[in-house]
Amino acid sequence: MFKELKIIGKPTPKHDAHIRVTGKAVYGHDIVLPGMLYGAILRTEHPSAEFTIDISAAKKIPGVVCIITADDIDTNNISYKRDHPILKKGEVNCIRDEIAAIAAETKEIAQQALKLIKVKYKIRKGIYGPFEALKEDAPQINKFISGKFQNKNIAETFHYEHGNLEEEKKKSAAIVKRRFTLPRMTHACMGTSNITASYNKTDGKLLLYSSTQVPFLYQRDMAHALKMNPSDIRIIQPVIGGGFGSKLDMYPFEPICALLSMKTGRPVQIIYSREEEFIASPTRQPMIIDLTAGVDKKGNFTFREINIVKDNGAYTSWGATTPFVIMQAFSSLYKVGACMFDATAVYTNNVFAGSFRGYGNPQATFALERMIDLLAEEIGMDKAEIRLLNANEKGETTGQGLHYETCGHKECLETVITKSKLKTQKSEVSKHSSKKSTQKRFVSGIGYASMLHVGGGAKIYRSDGCGTTLKIDPYGYCTIITGSNEIGQGSETVLAMIASEELGIDLKKIKVINTDTDIKPWDVGVHASRTSFVAGNSLLGAIKILKEKLNKKANELLKTSDEEFEYENGFIKSSISGNSIALDKVVREMHFSHPNELAIASYFYEPSSQVQNKEYKGNVSGTYAFASQAIEVEVDTYTGNVSVKNVWVAQDVGKVLNPLLLDGQIHGGILQGMGYALSEELLMKDGKILNPNFHNYKMLTASDIPEIDFFPIETNDKQGPYGAKGVGEAPLIPTAAAIANAVCNALDIDIIELPITPEKVLKAIHKNI
């Protein structure tokens, strides 16, 4: 039965838009607690060195309340590998390394005292490339690991395979091999990293105002680091100025702030400067991907052989685990007979990477989609046709065990191919006459790329669930207490829309409580494009239970025995008699008359997905999202500048919940993808960051937004709320690949490295002449 939806699918402004645009939103930076101190961190000046430290002069400054070094604390190492000491003792291994921290009465005093800490360094040469670190005679960089791997500088490995590689190689009419190099990109969130810690010495409880994306995992990690009981730590999330994956892990500055509060018994706040944000926040995982792939003479993909080396930096964070997602793209995007995948994370004296929107997928998709163009050229096949031929299909279970209950891949591809051809009329024919076109200053090209990403959460912990408690008060207002959290992506709005749709309550009467671990039920956190899917389903479950209670009371009051009621405009209406009663009246009757009962319900939703086995096989997500992009670029052959002219995006979103927010995700994702493709790179030399500022870290701006035509593809997945799938990461994932393909199409060059800077393009043009 198809129910007409009143709010779902309609453009609805963000629930928190008014506080954001009027400056009323309270970010972590705005918090001031009584008696609060200001914290500051001293970082190393050298990426690899031994050191001694003298804090005596700094301690004497009036207003300095506390200074800590590694000698003053009793903590556990952090990171999932437990290879990262919070404060470093005796040696530093990366330019971010924290060696002392100060709490002072003012920010100025803290900064002044930092300068008076005397550090003597014995500088070491350091290792700044993963291949160098793998050499036998390389010194061990991280001394905190168990050493279960053969090489002392290996932090993590992944191996995956399916199909018969040798058989598939034999079937191949063409085999192409390339080495792809992917840069360090940083999140550059508008709100810099911040934390306010308040430890209560009388009851031993720690209150943290933190921008984490994963409050419950963070609570556990913080407790482990500080040797505390997790339940004695309460996390409150103020309004968060951007996440994009950067706040998925806990970093040293956070337990450092807690320690300063514990030592002083006063609240302490640490806020990064923009420069510190560039230097000390995690990045997208840089990597080198060796990819060999084959195609048979009809154009069917035969095999993919992948060997990835990731620069792990000096410590491990989530960047090391990006192969979870990377292998999905290689094993399961387009049909492929065999896949052999190896990835190694190697310690170096560089900065470590974390998670970043797409979680390895933009890297994988860049390599894979560039490779598809190369394979098509090799067998003389049209680049649109080869993709359509191999596209994923509904009902397919891939070699890795991902099951596509719904799949909009082909429709996405067809849409962007048709729409882009309509506008550009540029075909492969004009490409082959490019000898002529390179004589012109401006040359156009078009490129395609698709992506596959989890669309129904990702079961990488024992539970990928989310809890909801829902209540309606005697005045007909509804409060959603959800385990999920808001990092700007709009989950509050989507949840309020769902409650409004189902309960007939005006959006203005719906409150979303989602910021306090002492109140809200458990949830894994914001990642894997999961919030609307998982929290939406969880809310729908709670609504169902609450409606049963409300229906029962309504039947009693209306003297009916209906099973179905319509909830509309604050009324509950009998679908048989047509009689109706105000929702708030029903709630009052529940609360205040015998047998008294609360209008409240709780539900825990767990997606149907599986935890993958040791071979990384299994249906890891509740559903899967697909997207294709066609991008037209114009290259200025005089300067090497690439201008993105048109972007056609088709994305299998399952069902559009809020077109406004969806458009926002698409536009933001495309621009972030364009930055990854063309301009953004955190440049490093000998372990030091050369461009820790927006001046030289070339994040694109509103002026660079091209024409974007977006076509949502609705496959109505029965697992999703109203059929919806996760949408947040997808728009960024294929963008760099499509741009690279478009530039190659325009110029007849072979791009194997990001970002595609004007200088690289001009050099490639010169090589070609």
Binding site: Y638, T639, L690, N696, L700, T701, A702, P758, E759
Partner: protein
Amino acid sequence: MSFEIINPTTTKELLSVVKNLKRKKFRFGAGCTDLLLELRKKPEENLTVINITQVKDAVFTGIKKTSKGLTIGSRVTAHNIVMNEEIKRNFPVLHEAALNLASTQIRQVATVGGNLCTASPSGDIACALMTLGANCEIINENGRRRRIPIHDFHTGVRATALKRGELLYSISIRGNEKNKKRIFSRFIKIGTRKSMECSVVSLAYHIQTDIKGKIIHAGIAIGSSAPTIRSTDSACKFLAGKNIFEISENEKKEFAEKVVGYASPISDIRATAWYRKEVLYNISKGIFEDILSNEE
């Protein structure tokens, strides 16, 4: 970063403030878009910033048409330049340079004087002014004025001809030639993004011709290519008398080589010297293609 701020409101007050502070550490601040960055990087102790944005002085803050051309006060903002019709019509190179500066927000506060006095090799407005044969009017704490050609204003990277106690008061540009019938005038800024960009290479040209396209006067300057913004005089002379629509391939190359002759770029994290020279050569040649294709 901390400093004292003094806010004079008249020119007289301004000059007396300068006089009083002459033996102390002081800096002028208008839009402060460069100054604050500089002071954050290199904080100075006991510094006073003389905020000149409150000074009421028609010449200092205005754009005025004169019998000889145009006078632009050094406190005029990039936004003021963008909005000025006279400039847009007669000196498109200056309009375009101001329009491409940073972002809308920055253009509201960034000033012409600041762009010149920062003396960055990548100064956009300064580069455009170079093609217009501008003169700088300088005032000292005693109110004494002197004029120097813009070519002599920049003496090195972040160095100007200003002496202690002197302030850039206004810039005057010569009107276009009486017999000119057409103007080909553009500011070409090469960088990675469209806003908030510091040019990797820039090329400004202001070429006046008769009705048929014969070049009467040409001003051409390059930015981000040498320690200072350079006027490419031999390239300008090379063009004089030629018809802008009939420049041969060889002449284009010769012209471009002359322009590049003024470049002595460095390699830094934004671009290599090779790239800067290569692009400068290409876009110099490209001037005439642009002009022709706009005619079509």
